[in-house]
């Protein structure tokens, strides 16, 4: 039994997103997605959520989406983080921010602690099934939902995801990165927060 669905490479999935990201989009990245996103370059409207409180990227994204309704806010999240804050899916849909896009990278494991199975992934469940994150998002009331299992399909579909009416929840099956470590903070937090706020003000 595999620890996760066979999935696309995380860094290539992020690279495809980066191509379609508009200059005025805010991108919030957490955990493994943050680690790989930083390798692709920097942007003044990147909020690399490191250090973070695991699971809270979706909530931070909601706050930004409400405060900046004219901007698209993209949250790059993991399946383990999603499980830590499932209620945030309901909080988000209660507010219905049309400008919020959640992209969830599902590898079925807590990658940065040694790839232990999550309770939502195949290897972490007695029944050997997989939690239906897309079903959870639909039931919570996300206006647009997508699921991509392969890179080519994602590359072709990413623009449609970003342009859909939000709140949007997108699930990507990704392969765990072998031996992956946690993301490093790219600099002092206060200074990064100050620069980010200045970039938002334009």
């Amino acid at each position: 039994m595999s620890a996760s669905p066979v999935g696309m490479p995380l860094v290539e999935a992020l690279a495809a997103l980066r191509v379609e990201r508009r200059e005025d989009d805010v991108v919030i990245s957490a955990m493994g997605a943050a680690r790989e996103w930083m390798t692709l370059g920097t942007h003044p409207l990147d909020w690399v959520f490191v250090p973070s409180s695991m699971g809270q990227a979706t909530s931070l994204g909601l706050g930004l989406a409400l405060a900046q309704p004219q901007r698209r806010i993209i949250v790059l999240n993991g399946d383990g983080s999603t499980l830590m804050n499932l209620g945030s899916l309901v909080t988000i849909t209660a507010e219905q921010p049309a400008n919020l896009v959640i992209v969830t990278f599902d590898n079925g494991v807590y990658e940065i602690t040694g790839a232990q199975p999550t309770p939502g992934g195949v290897a972490g469940r007695k029944a050997g099934d997989r939690v239906d994150y897309l079903g959870l998002a639909r039931a919570a009331g996300f206006r647009s939902t997508f699921h991509f299992t392969g890179l080519a399909e994602w590359v072709a579909g990413v623009r449609g995801v970003l342009d859909a009416t939000g709140p949007t929840f997108t699930l990507l099956d990704v392969a765990p990165v072998p031996g992956a470590r946690g993301p490093r903070s790219p600099g002092p937090t206060s200074e990064r927060a100050r620069r980010f706020m200045a970039a938002l003000r334009g």
């Binding site: 409180s53 699971g55 809270q56 990227a57 909601l62 706050g63 945030s88 909080t91 927060a193």
Partner: protein, 161 residues
């Protein structure tokens, strides 16, 4: 302790834009007045979310206040730590102190043991308000924290009018 109108008026005076909240039977009564004052309510499912939502609002230029019960303060730990201490975002909070004024209703309630030590452990600059005539303490602390861009809290005793 305080009317919704008093609190909403203070929030409006301090340019509060959003109240991020899980209500209890005291704090929830403020909701209509806050909404009438044009302050937007964001209802979260658990209190840990409230700090991150408020952090995002603040980064985006809004001025949120977190309004939760002390039991929600206990739930908030890691998220509060991250927003107030890692990122040093100046989020103000109003914490309802469950049954403090009516302790016989919940004999053995350990919220009475842990609330203030928890606020102290998280190094939150708070004021403890136990009487209706202490509204000015609340107002002054919120005004000072807003003006100086500092995090802070008021702990409001609940359980009796």
């Amino acid at each position: 302790m305080f009317s919704g109108e008093e609190v909403a008026s203070l929030f409006a005076r301090c340019d509060v834009t959003h109240v991020v909240t899980v209500p209890d039977s005291t704090l929830g009564r403020w909701e209509p007045a806050n909404q009438q004052a044009g302050i937007r309510l964001v209802r979260v499912c658990r209190e840990g979310e409230a700090w991150a939502v408020a952090g995002g609002l603040y980064l985006g230029g809004a001025r949120p206040v977190v309004v939760i019960q002390c039991t929600g303060l206990f739930e908030s730990g890691d998220s509060l730590r991250n927003i107030l201490h890692d990122w040093k975002l100046p989020i103000f909070s109003v914490i309802g102190y469950r049954s403090y004024l009516n302790q016989e209703t919940l004999p053995g309630d350990t919220a009475l043991i842990f609330t203030e030590p928890t606020l102290k452990a998280w190094q939150i600059d708070y004021r403890f308000i136990t009487k209706p005539d202490e509204f000015e303490v609340f107002a002054r602390h919120l005004e000072t924290c807003s003006r100086e861009g500092k995090a802070g809290a008021v702990l409001i005793a609940e359980g009796k009018a």
